[in-house]
Each structure stands twice: as C-alpha cells, then as structure tokens.
C-alpha cells in the first residue's frame, strides 16, 4: 500500500471523503461543517466536492440535528453527525442515549441506527471548563453505543471508515490537540476492526494502557523509562466498546504491572473500567495494584498555570511507572 504522511485532520477528512464517494447515503450534518469546515478545518473541501445537500450546515441545535441524524439513519441513510465539541454531547444526550442506543434493542432487532456521532475530547487548549472535557466514559457506559477513540492518523482513518460502515450508532472521539499530528496513512481503502487493541510499543516490565491523547504521553514516558532500564509495553484499546479485554489482560500477565492512562475525569471513569478488567483477568500474575491515571476531578480551569496540572504528562506517568516497578 502506498503510504503518505498525513495529519490526523487530513486522515479524518480522507476517510469521510472516501466513504462519501463509495456510498451515496453517507452525509454530514452539524454546525459550520460546510464552507467553514468546522473550527478545526477538519472538513475543509468536502462541501466543494459533495455539495451542501450532503455536507449540511445546521443551526446551533444539537438535540435537533442529532435527533434528525437518528431518524435519517433509521430510514436508509448513514449520517455523520458533527458535534463541534465533546462538551456539547451533554446537549444531545437524550437523542444519543435514549433514542439511538435503544432503538435496535427496543424494536426487538427490527430497526437499525447506522449513525456516527463525530466529536472530540482533550484539554490544554486554554478553552476552559466547557470546551475541554473528555466525556467518552459517559457514552461508553451505555449499552447499544460503540465508542472509538483513535490515537494516530492511521487509526483515525481506518476506524472512522469502520464506524461509518457499522450498522450501529458509533460515537467517534478525536483529540483536538492531535489534529496537526502527522503519521503514515495508506492511500488505499482500509478499515480497522472495532474491539482490537493495538500494541503501540512492545515491552516486558510494565504495561501502560493508554487511550487517545494519552497514547503519545505513554510512549514518551516509555522512552524515559527505557533510559532507566525499564521496558514498557504501550497498549491502545482504540475502542472502549467493544473492548479488547484479552490483549489488555495478556499484556498485564506478561509484565505483571499495569497503569491505565486516560484523559477523562478519573472518578468513575474509563480508567476504572479498564483497571478492573486487568485486575480481574490478571490477578494472580500481578506484582502490584493496577494504577489509574485520569484527568484531575475538577472542572478544567482556564489559566495555563492551572490547566496543565489537570492532565497526566510524560513525567507523571514516568514517575508512577518507576515507583510501581520499585525504582524510587
């Protein structure tokens, strides 16, 4: 496969363009998705190719256009609903949680809702408490929703194509701090199956399970750990639902130590779920308790001096891993 270097944003854009060319029922709806291409310019160029009928600028009405995406999905279309900031999921929760997630089950399997809710997560953009949250745990909690949280341009393209082709509602989270990150992406059509974790780095001494924005943090921490003679394995689940429990458990069995790192709030968060999976599945192999490292349990503050304290860094992960391995 021919590979080029693309940014994360370009990989997302390419996945959408390819799927829209392949399937005329795929369309995009959301705020400022057309000429503006979203505030992050992720969708630039799509309206020029596919027209305003398939790249639909909506009013600022999250419940309205999210619900319409659900209805369109139930009647033969494959909408990609653009929710500009992950924080705005809260506005559309009834449509996502009570409608999209339930329709297939409540109808005894007769109706399907092949819709993608594209949104984002991630702090440190100096956007304060209502534009910085990572709320993927909220939707991961609800049966009937699939949740993808890619960490590289390659994964973003492959997982988004899978999301669009899936027969179920999928919430797709992109890290907004990652849009400019570059990586090799095949020019060809490829998909990445849901529920298959990716080993981003092989290692022997400790397992770092990291999601989305935290994958690069974990890889950076692994580099530091190597310098002190510790070999970390970095695993990215890539989807929280379905979850590849086996890869997580097998890695923890091998290394006998594990830390779970995620940018959602630590309390009741993704880290809790993943840590419990590992604790359950690898209990007799563990030499230390499974550690959780999420975002600080505070509304995200504006001031850089405060905001940077709320998320995990290479240094905090490095320190935690070092101490878990008994190196003080």
């Amino acid at each position: 496969m021919a590979e080029r270097e693309l940014t994360f944003a370009e990989a997302v854009n390419e996945a959408l363009a390819e799927e829209m060319r392949r399937d005329p029922t795929v369309f995009i709806i959301g705020e400022d998705v057309a000429e503006a291409g979203t505030p992050f310019k992720v969708l630039s160029g799509l309206v020029e190719e596919f027209g305003p009928e398939r790249v639909i600028d909506s009013p600022i009405s999250e419940p309205g256009f999210t619900g319409m995406g659900v209805g369109a999905a139930m009647t033969g279309m494959r909408p990609v609903v653009d929710i500009m900031f992950g924080d705005f999921l809260t506005l559309a929760m009834d449509q996502i949680v009570n409608q999209a997630a339930k329709v297939h089950y409540m109808s005894g399997g007769k109706m399907k809702v092949p819709v993608v809710f594209r949104t984002n997560l991630g702090a440190t953009r100096r956007s304060a408490a209502q534009h910085s949250q990572s709320l993927h745990a909220w939707v991961s909690h609800v049966p009937g929703l699939k949740v993808a949280i890619p960490s590289t341009p390659y994964d973003a393209k492959g997982l988004l194509k899978t999301a669009i082709r899936d027969e179920n509602p999928v919430v797709f989270f992109e890290d907004k701090m990652m849009f400019k990150m570059k990586g090799l992406v095949p020019a060809d059509d490829y998909t990445i199956p849901f529920g298959v974790a990716d080993v981003k780095l092989k290692g022997e001494d400790i397992t770092l399970v990291a999601t989305s924005s935290m994958v690069q943090i974990a890889l950076g921490a692994a580099k530091k750990l190597k310098e002190i003679g510790l070999s970390a394995e970095v695993i990215d689940p890539r989807t929280t639902t379905p979850l590849d429990k086996e890869t997580l458990i097998e890695s923890a069995k091998k290394t006998s130590r594990a830390i779970v790192i995620d940018e959602g709030y630590e309390q009741y968060g993704v880290t809790a779920e993943l840590a419990s999976v590992i604790a359950d599945g690898a209990f007799y192999y563990l030499d230390a308790p499974v550690k959780r490292m999420g975002a600080m349990n505070v509304p995200i503050p504006f001031s850089p001096a405060l905001e940077d304290l709320t998320v995990q860094t290479e240094e905090t992960v490095f320190q935690m891993a070092k101490s878990l391995c008994g190196k003080v």
Partner: protein
C-alpha cells in the same frame, strides 16, 4: 385566552365516501375496544407495568393515518396504541408485546411504550415526551435526500409542546422545506396538569413563528381530521414543506391506567360531557345513520367483528410464550 377558530366538517358526506367512512369507523372501534381490553388486562394484573390509554382520541390517529400511504412514516408517543393500529399494526402481535411475549412486535423487549412496526411505516412509540420529534424530522430529511415522496408524521401531545426540541426541528424543517407534519393532539392535559398551567399563548403560534402552515381542527371529527390531513400531505408531497396540525381532543382515562382518582385536576362532569357529546365514534355513527349512509345493523356488525378480533388477539397473546432467557443479550447491537 383567545377563542380558537375551529373549522367544521362539511355536513354532508358524498356517497362515494361511505366505504371510507365505514373503514374509519371500524379503525376507531378497533382502537376503542383494544384500549378497553388493555385496561382490563391491567386491572386483572395480567399485564406487566403500566399503559397509557388512547380512548377518546381515536379520530386523530385514524383521520391522520387514513390520509397516509403504508410507506409514509409516523413516530408515536407513550400513548401510542391508537397510532400503531391506525397505521396498520396487527392486534394480536400488539397484545403480545403488551404482555411481554416473544411474538410481540418487539419480541417483548419494548412493551406498550415502544411498539415499532417498520413494515407499516411506524418508526416507534417513544417514552420520552417529545423524544421522537428529531426522528420524524430526520425521516423527512431522509425521504427528501433519497428523492422519495414519502412524508413523515410526528404525533405528540400538548404536553410535548413545552419541549425545546420541537422548536429546533421546526426551524430546520421550515428552513429545508422538509415533508414532515407535526400533529399535536391537544387533549388539554400535560399528564396531571391542565394545559393552561403549562403553556403560554396559542399552540399553533409556535409553528407560525417559523413560517410553518398551521391548521386547528376538531379532533373528534374523523372526517375533518382526514380531509385536513390529506391537504397537508399533498402539500408536503408537492414539496411545499412542513405543516402543523393541532387536533382538539380529549383522553377519557387518566394519564395512565393507574391514574384513577382524577378529581384533583379535572371534574367528572367534564369527562362525562366529552364522552356523551364529543365522542368520535358516536359522532361518526350518528352522522352515518342520520344521513342514511348506513344503518345500525352495519355498525353493529363492525362492532361485533372488532370485538371478535380483539378477543382472539388477546387470547393469542395470553397463549404466546415469553422470550427465552437467552434473548436478554440479543439485539443490543445489530
């Protein structure tokens, strides 16, 4: 409050309409009988949970659905049995769903508040008040994008008019000229509270603010509801965009079957008055006989046929099996 302008039906039906009117009568009778039986199942503790009865509002569902094709969409509400039957769902599988049986429309996983029958265009009842307004409007968007001439009808009550979602989707439906018809069944009660305590202004003024065509009709007159609806459906099919139909109606029972003592929010005299003077079945029956379009024996036969269909439907549901326990984890994902 300003007096409502309520259109009235032409007093005389064309002879050619008789068959159609008798069909509407049968549909209304079926809904009435279905709901009486559902209430009985609840009272005898044969039905799990609760249900919200449609009795009294039959002319709305039937008048609206008689104006639709099978492939047109409807979305329904927690008080949805009437919409479901009027759009063409089978009585036996509906009762089976009410009793949580495998043979039900949703394999017993939805129950009274979630009956969906995509084969008859019913995208499902919804237990979130106003919850289906986005779905119906999205179905209309989908119909337009696919180049089909289907229309989507969104049923909701006066209580749901207070939900913000309605304003969002009406705005988009008007902006994009979508083939959706919002049917507000104004039965005067938002659960246990009178409309005058929950809604300021006139209901249709909300739609007018978006430039949406509105009509207010006597929702007890099935002929009028159907004639008005036919006009609105034709408009929508011609690409003339959304419409809002307010039907003035009344629910005979409480908010749900357990809402027995209602005097703290409405009088028995008021209920009696609607049952005696505004009953949609009685009004249509009197019209048919008064205008010598049919005779009592025909209506009696319809009633008897309906009763038999309901009885056998209930028996089917009672005899049907519960879903196998393995079903609990099926259908979470497609």
């Amino acid at each position: 409050m300003a007096e409502k302008t309520v259109a009235t039906a032409k007093s005389k039906a064309d002879a050619g309409d008789v068959e159609q009117l008798l069909h509407a009568y049968e549909q209304m009778a079926k809904i009435r009988e279905f709901e009486e039986k559902a209430n009985e199942l609840y009272m005898k503790a044969l039905m799990p949970g609760l249900t919200h009865l449609y009795s009294g509002q039959e002319a709305v569902a039937v008048g609206v659905c008689e104006a639709l094709r099978k492939e047109d969409y409807i979305t329904s509400t927690h008080r949805g049995h009437g919409h479901c039957l009027a759009k063409g769902a089978a009585v036996d599988r509906m009762f089976a769903e009410l009793l949580g049986k495998e043979a039900g429309f949703c394999k017993g996983k939805g129950g009274s508040m979630h009956i969906a029958d995509p084969d008859s265009g019913n995208l499902g009842a919804n237990a979130i008040v106003g919850g289906s307004m986005g779905i119906a409007t999205g179905a209309a968007l989908s119909a337009k994008m696919r180049g089909s001439d289907q229309v989507a009808v969104c049923f909701f009550g006066d209580g749901a008019v207070a939900q913000g979602l309605l304003f969002e989707v009406m705005n988009m439906a008007a902006l994009w000229n979508l083939p959706v018809i919002y049917v507000c069944e104004n039965n005067n009660y938002s659960e246990y509270t009178h409309r005058t305590e929950t809604l300021a202004g006139e209901i249709t003024d909300r739609a007018k603010a978006f430039g949406i065509h509105t009509e207010t009709v006597d929702g007890q007159d099935v002929q009028l509801v159907q004639a008005t609806m036919e006009k609105l459906v034709e408009r929508a099919r011609r690409g003339e965009g959304p419409a809002f139909l307010e039907c003035l109606t009344y629910r005979y029972y409480g908010h749900h079957v357990g809402d027995i003592n209602r005097t703290y929010y409405r009088s028995k005299e008021e209920e009696q008055d609607w049952r005696e003077n505004r009953d949609p079945l009685k009004l249509l029956g009197e019209k048919l006989i008064g205008q010598k379009l049919t005779d009592q024996s025909v209506l009696d036969r319809i009633q008897a046929d309906v009763k038999a269909e309901i009885e056998s439907g209930v028996q089917f549901a009672i005899d049907a099996s519960y879903p196998d326990q393995s079903q609990v984890t099926e259908d979470v994902f497609a």
